[in-house]
Amino acid sequence: MTKLVQYPSGAYVLERDAYSTPVLETYHLGIDFGGLSAVNNFNIIVGPTEISGLIGPNGAGKTTVFNLLTKVYQPSKGTILVNGHDTSKMSTVDVNKAGVARTFQNIRLFDKMSVIDNVKVAMNNSMNYNPLHAIFRTPKYYKEEKRIHQKALELLDIFNMSDLAETTAGSLPYGAQRRLEIIRALATKPLLLLLDEPAAGMNPNETKELMETIRGIRDKFNIAIILIEHDMSLVMNICEGIAVLNYGRIIAKGTPKDIQNNPVVIEAYLGKPDQED
């Protein structure tokens, strides 16, 4: 199935990604919260079409890694390269423009806005008119608004949500909210999509559907995805590379098979059972 090959740097990537620039590289990435190190010496390389998983017990630092990658937190140490560009001087906004989009463990939609407006906000940077066009309703305003409306509808349609376009985002059922968050992230045209526990709170059927959706996104949009997830079957099924985090450190990396049989991983999970939050 998946075959890993070695980059010149020594890191392993999928064979099909071997000759392209990695979409994400981190070197010695770390952050301390008041002397306590939440993430330490975090090194990964993700190829441009890879679905990779980031797993580990609660409190291991997975969400913190996403917050570092998107610059919600400033790293205390280390380097992050997005598509080969150093992000050390970038803000959250810049990192998004460089190609990283994400969802949140605790859903963060624009609750009071409609579903389609949530998507349109994310398409804002591809729009092309200034405040005067808006105030005086010039032809350019109408043309651009129509274009973006069409694009947003198309995107919603891919995920069977175009019927809900005018619904208030906050009133959607839980599963649909998670889906909308993914759509909104995709609307920014990312190279790398970060999904923080997308299956949390879903029933087995919804989870299965989500699995197909995630694979579909990679195939359709040709992007890389990093997935934080507790559902082992989901991770083992769709991820091509997995990193296991414990106490802020990577304790194992490899293909799903490697991870499944790794005694260190088994110990980390059994030794400290999951406390649901």
């Binding site: 949140f104 963060r108 624009f110 609750d111 806005m113 349109k120 994310a122 804002n124 105030i135």
Partner: protein, 359 residues
């Protein structure tokens, strides 16, 4: 044609239609009254200030309601607009006989001046998160008042004469003082008209609604509702909030210019902290982000006590009580849930129109 009409009355735009109807209806009603039975001079004298306060409240709503930032110095922008307008009109008077044109230029430049000041304030402040904007705008309002309290400016055939802190302006005969320190403007030609006020309200509505239903409205509301999520999809929070703040300042400046040109004398102290709070009360009471509500709240809270002269002394007291009650209700979970439930209950009893599409 049919499409346009449907658009005006569809659910998404109905509140906008109501706002315009309220404003236009009010204007027509007053005009009719004036031309038939006539109206009392007290009532007549309230027309222009009411328009000014409505515009000021609408513009503040853009910052506090739509953008979600607390500003406590809105009167400062009115002040900048007012005295800019007064000076411009004083300077132009010998050269430009058309009253309405002088008024128009004064209002535009009053707005521009306030917008520039708003931009200068917002650049450093909106970098910070939290209530800094409230503190800085509060200070700004005080500073503008103190500055104007010390400016002496006169004009005669030799041009403008200026002095600071002490009045050392001496004018040749035929000249006139435009600003006299704490006395402010003392000999303004009154140019403001009710029609100008009405048009200014329409302009504000146009700007605010068109901006709200555009990419800018979406980003402003997204930045308010969830800052981190907005940044994660590439929305620059500071630029977004700055746009709302500057446009708000501009409209407040315009309303100030109209206000200033409605009186022959105007002191800088008129635009103090109290006035900022009054306008804030109109906005909070009208409902944050609710345009029609803001207009109606201003009408009721400003015009009514003025008309019922006896109540005037208690105005600040009544306002404070109303404000406290509103805050108690909105910050109290139980009370809020109960009010929401009550509203939902009433809505459920109303006959349903159309299909409940997505529930």
């Amino acid at each position: 044609m049919e499409k346009t009409i449907r658009k005006i009355f569809d659910k998404k735009h109905i509140s906008r239609t109501i706002s315009y109807l309220v404003v236009i209806g009010g204007f027509v009603a007053v005009q009719l009254l004036m031309n038939t039975v006539g109206i009392k001079s007290l009532f007549r004298s309230l027309l222009v200030p009411t328009c000014c306060y409505i515009v000021a409240a609408l513009s503040l709503n853009l910052v506090v309601g739509v953008s979600g930032e607390l500003s406590l110095g809105h009167a400062g922008f009115m002040s900048v607009g007012a005295f800019t307008g007064i000076i411009i009109c004083g300077v132009l008077e010998p050269y430009l006989a058309l009253n309405w044109l002088r008024l128009l230029i004064a209002i535009i430049l009053g707005g521009v001046a306030a917008a520039i000041v708003g931009l200068l304030i917002s650049i450093p402040v909106l970098k910070l998160q939290g209530d800094y904007l409230a503190i800085v705008t509060l200070a700004f309002c005080q500073i503008i008042k103190s500055l104007l309290n010390n400016i002496y400016l006169g004009i005669d055939s030799n041009g403008l004469h200026f002095s600071f802190i002490e009045n050392r302006v001496s004018l040749i005969p035929g000249g006139k003082m435009l600003l006299s320190g704490p006395m402010g403007a003392t000999a303004t030609t009154r140019l403001a008209t009710f029609t100008a006020g009405f048009l200014l309200i329409l302009l504000s509505l146009l700007i605010i609604y068109n901006l709200t239903y555009s990419r800018y409205g979406r980003t402003i509301m997204a930045a308010r509702d969830n800052r981190i999520a907005a940044e994660s999809v590439g929305i620059h929070i500071r630029n977004t909030k700055m746009l709302a703040f500057v446009i708000s300042a501009c409209l407040a400046g315009m309303s100030g210019a109209l206000f200033g040109l409605n009186y022959s004398t105007l002191q800088p102290a008129k635009f103090d902290f109290n006035l900022s709070i009054l306008i804030l009360v109109y906005v909070v009471l009208g409902g944050l982000g609710n345009i029609t509500g803001t207009i109606i709240a201003t009408l009721i809270l400003y015009a009514l006590p003025e008309l019922l002269r006896g109540l005037q002394d208690y105005r600040m007291l009544i306002y404070s009580i109303i404000l406290i009650v509103i805050m108690l209700i909105t910050n109290n979970r139980k009370l809020k849930d109960k009010t929401d439930a009550l509203i939902a209950d009433i809505k459920a009893r109303l006959p349903k129109k159309g299909s409940a599409a997505h529930d």
